[in-house]
Amino acid sequence: MSGQYHRSHRWAWFFERPGYLLFMVRELTCFFVGGYLVVLLVTLGKLAGGGETALVEWLASVSGPWWLTAHLVALVAAVWHTVTWFGAVPQAMPIYLGENRLPAPIAAIVMGYGPWLTVTAVILWWVLR
């Protein structure tokens, strides 16, 4: 219809609401998770291709202050990514017991934190045994 006023799109829309900014932070954490995955794959490649010597050399080369800082940032980003998605799981996958919906915090533990901690504990046991 003529005469309508169309407001222009805002390129910096993600600054308009705290929720938008948190969304962008959540999405951007995937780059850190992906980056760390590359580091892990290279590490596995060194181990598979060159054996222990190549692995030790590679680990020494990624142990400087900048690399440690990068690891720390990637860890924080990965934890944030994980926590925010676990928080979203009860919305996307509700569990009903009869006519009652499992409360979100319990559903997050059942479907997120519980399996996460279990798998982590199993890996730690396997590595440290």
Binding site: H9, Y20, Q91, E99
Partner: protein, 256 residues
């Protein structure tokens, strides 16, 4: 009028016959602790400026007509109390992500079209005669969709959704939540028809789960959750389509 007992409203004005650009106009309104922003707007229209145009009806959070941006936040103005803003000024604008018809009134046509696309009503392949009685439903089956049936079509979720403002193909939070509401209804048999619409282009996949639609929903519908569930359902049906003839993949068991 005692200045301590007033509140300033800055209101978006746009009259297409005279304005090429919108403007803001300030009004001093009596402060009453029991008043909501809608009361203040009605007072302006009744006592100061009859040309101010806005939508409202029930004044009790049911009709969904009076949604506007209040200090940048999508709100039902009948549920936004002046005391929550006093003594500071209040800026009132039409819902964002919609074209403005006049002052605080937005064009709802696009939303209504999208709502119709998801067929928000019960579809039956086999319609029982009324003599056979109602389609029975257990409390557990009702619980599957009840939350999503509380939508009042106020469109606040569209104003909060950054995708709705940028992607025309996206059906948007309320329409998708209502589509999901009927897909989860044990009496309904129209899931395949709705999923055809939802799976097309960016209709549902445009949603990136920002989640602000759920934050602003005055009826706690959780459209973001409904959309993610609908995505999972749509993906499931898509893959079922490779191995099963169309129309046989949808089963609503005892729990919906």
């Amino acid at each position: 009028m005692d200045v301590k007992d007033t509140v300033m409203l800055e209101i978006f004005r746009y009259h297409p016959e005279t304005d090429s650009e919108p403007r803001f106009q300030s009004y001093e309104v009596p402060y009453n602790e029991d008043w909501v922003v809608l009361d203040a707007i009605n007072w302006i229209k009744d006592h100061v400026d009859g040309s101010l145009t806005h939508r409202w009806s029930c004044r009790m959070g049911v009709c969904g007509s009076c949604g506007m941006m209040v200090n940048g936040e999508p709100k039902l103005t009948c549920a936004a109390f002046l005391k929550d803003y006093y003594p500071f000024g209040i800026k009132v604008e039409p819902l964002v992500n919609f074209a403005v018809e006049r002052d605080l009134v937005v064009d709802m046509d696009g939303f209504m079209d999208k709502l119709q696309e998801v067929k928000p009503y019960i579809i039956r392949d086999d319609v029982n005669d009324t003599s056979e009685g109602e389609y029975r439903q257990s409390p557990a089956q009702l619980a599957q969709y009840k939350q999503y049936s509380m939508c009042i079509n106020c469109m606040l979720c569209y104003a909060a959704c950054p995708v709705a403002g940028h992607e025309d193909e996206f059906l948007g939070p309320a329409a998708l939540a209502l589509g999901h509401r009927y897909n989860k209804d044990s009496r309904d048999q129209g899931q395949a028809e709705r999923l055809d619409v939802m799976l097309a282009g960016e209709a549902i996949w445009g949603c990136t789960f920002v989640g602000e639609c759920t934050v602003v929903c005055p009826k706690h519908v959780d459209p973001a959750g409904a959309i993610q569930q609908a995505k999972a359902m749509a993906a499931q049906e898509y893959f079922k389509g490779f191995v099963m003839p169309k129309g046989t993949g949808v089963s609503k068991g005892a729990d919906g």
